[in-house]
Structure formats: C-alpha cells, structure tokens
C-alpha cells in the first residue's frame, strides 16, 4: 500500500464561534484505496469531526459535494487524487457567491429558487391518454444533454453573472432545465416558457462567458441550450 500525506488548506467558518471565515491548514494520510478527493475528506473528518461538507452518492450522480477545488468548481467525489501534484497544498473553498452556512456548506436557496422559477415540470393539458404519450427516438434524443443535470450548482456558481445577479438571472442550471422542457415534444407551454425568460435579466444576462461549460461535472453544455432558447425567441418574432 502506498501511503502519502496530503496537505489541505480549507475554508472554515462556524457562525457560532467565528466572526469571520478563515483558512485552516490540515494534513491527512491516505492510502491506495483512497482514490478520490472525497475519500480524503472522509479521512479528514475522522481526524477532525468539526469539518462540515455535504456528500452522499460518492459517484457523481447526486450533486451533493460541489465545492471550489484549487480555484475551480467540481465534485469532490469525481476529483481524482492522482491528479493533485505531490506535496502541493489542495485548497478547498465553498462554491463561490452563495452564502456560507458553515465551512464548505453553502445556502443553495437562491439557486433552487431560480430552478423552480422556470416551472421545471411537464405542462400538457390534453386529456391523459391511457398509454404512454408517444415520442420518436429522434424527439427523445433532443433531451440528451439536458435531462442529466444533477443540480450540483457548479455551473451557476462559476458564472460571474450569477454572482452579481443571483436573484434576477436564472443561471445556467435553471436555463438548461428550461430548455429541457421546451425541447420536450410532450410539453405544450413553450410560449409561456419563452415569455417567462424574455427579459433582460432572466435569460439575457448570459454573456456567453461559458464558465458553466468549463466546470460541469456531467459534461453538459448550458451555453448550447441557452443559444437554442434564443433561437426560438428570434424565430418567434420573425
């Protein structure tokens, strides 16, 4: 078993005792069975149980452990320990721009509010058929790259526009979800959905910076989805 010492520099904040957040240096020994950053964090927590972070599935599908790793947003459970150079300190901070509840745990209320604001559910007012609504494989394919979002917030909290206007700009995750329903042939609320977004803030604060695409742990592309929404809006007025 190859053991090695990992050095961490972790953002700490406990509102009960700390007036301000600070960075803490801490080391932990990992062995060959610890493959991902999350494995190391679990060991760290065994050493100091006051370190707080969210985690659940440890395989990149639940979206709990989004954090800022060496300056870039990502999931701790997918960050391979072998990609961190030996001896170099790993800096962990909470997702940027959201209020910090404690340590690496941020308050995601605003993020989910924006997600909810796009009415993330299928709207279809036809009488329910007895069997499934039909959809061709090609129509279904339109949803690929959209429905897989895990709501980890890595994208929205990497988006400068979302930092400045989290209350007005829907953000990449929400807009991806909006297009997921627009693109669904079973949904009938396309016009309402476009109306809901045709505003200088909600959609058009997107300046195609593309930080969202850069960090998405699922390899999704919100910019592409946003572009397609804009297309539909243009097609609607001409």
């Amino acid at each position: 078993m190859t053991k090695r010492i990992l050095k961490f520099n972790i953002y700490r904040y406990d509102p009960d005792v700390d007036r301000k957040p600070y960075l803490q240096d801490i080391e932990v020994e990992v062995d060959a069975t610890d493959r991902k950053l999350l494995d190391a964090l679990v060991k760290l927590k065994a050493k100091d149980d006051s370190i707080a972070f969210r985690r659940s599935c440890r395989e990149g599908v639940c979206g709990s452990d989004g954090m800022n790793i060496n300056g870039t947003n990502g999931l701790a459970c997918l960050a391979d320990l072998s990609t961190f150079p030996d001896g170099k300190t790993i800096v962990l901070r909470p997702l940027p721009g959201l209020p910090v509840i404690r340590d690496l745990i941020v308050d995601m209320t605003q993020f989910f509010k924006q997600y909810h604001s796009i009415k993330p559910y299928l709207i279809n007012n036809d009488p329910l058929p007895e069997r499934e609504r039909l959809q061709s494989p090609e129509e279904r394919e339109e949803l690929n790259g959209l429905y897989e979002c895990i709501l980890c917030a890595c994208c929205s909290t990497a988006c400068p526009t979302f930092w400045w206007n989290p209350d007005k700009f829907v953000g990449p995750a929400g807009l991806l979800a909006a297009y997921r329903f627009i693109a669904d042939t079973r949904d009938q609320a396309t016009n309402e959905r476009l109306d809901n977004l045709e505003d200088p803030y909600r959609l058009f604060r997107c300046h195609t910076i593309m930080n969202c695409v850069e960090v998405c742990p699922k390899g999704l592309n919100p910019t592409k989805a946003i572009g397609k929404i804009k297309d539909m809006m243009v097609r609607r007025i001409i």
Partner: protein, 127 residues
C-alpha cells in the same frame, strides 16, 4: 429556513477563483468595450481633425506623435482588435458554431493569439 436578517459570509475572492481562458477573453471583451466607450469623444475629435481641412489633417499628424496619446491609441487599437475578434467569436457561437467546451476554449485562445500580436505589430508601426 434561513433566519431573516442573518448575515452570512460569501466566498467570492476573484483573485483566487480560477477563470478559464474563455472567461478571460470574455471579461477582456467587456473591458475593451468600456474602454472604447470612454474614448469615444477622443475618437470623434480625431475623426473631425482628419476631415475638417488640410490644416487640421496636419494638426492630427502632430497630435498623434505625442507619447501619451500614442499610448492611449495603442490601448484603443488593442481594444478595437480584441473587441472585433471576440465579437466574431460570439457571433459564431450564437450561430451554434464552436459551442463545445474544447472548441470554445480554442477559439478564445485564437482571439488572444490574433489580437495581441496584431496590436504589437500595428502599435510598432504607429510608434
């Protein structure tokens, strides 16, 4: 339920958050745009000098030899070049070209690779 009025810190240290190359090109687009806007009166004035009369044309030649103005003009030149290249990149992305992660960062690199050397070459000429 978040307690009302409770002030929580936010982590938003712009120096420590790594900005990808596409993000850098993008913020420079804004910086260059604002730069051009601020220099608009100067631009219009130079435009007027160039066209009002042969004398003013001479005056313009003299004015732009001033080192301070030269520096400003080089800055402006970069702004125009970067804004121009980046604008084309954005238009292409709007037309769904180069929206993938790898392509987007490649095109951002290309923008910088064109606008910076061009500024140097044209700037050297101007100087």
């Amino acid at each position: 339920m978040p307690e009302l009025g409770r002030k929580r810190p936010k982590y938003l240290n712009l120096i420590k958050i790594k900005l990808p190359i596409a993000g850098i090109a993008s913020i420079l687009h804004r910086v260059s745009g604002v730069g051009i806007f601020l220099m608009l009166p100067l631009l219009v004035w130079l435009f007027e000098l160039s066209l009002r009369s042969p004398e003013s044309f001479q005056e313009l030649q003299a004015v732009i030899t001033h080192p301070v103005l030269k520096l400003i003009l080089i800055g402006l030149l970069w702004s125009l070049l970067h804004h121009f290249c980046m604008g084309i990149r954005i238009l292409l992305i709007d037309m769904h070209m180069g929206v993938d992660k790898a392509q987007a960062s490649a095109s951002a690199k290309m923008v910088l690779a064109v606008s910076l050397p061009m500024t140097l070459i044209l700037g050297a000429k101007l100087w």
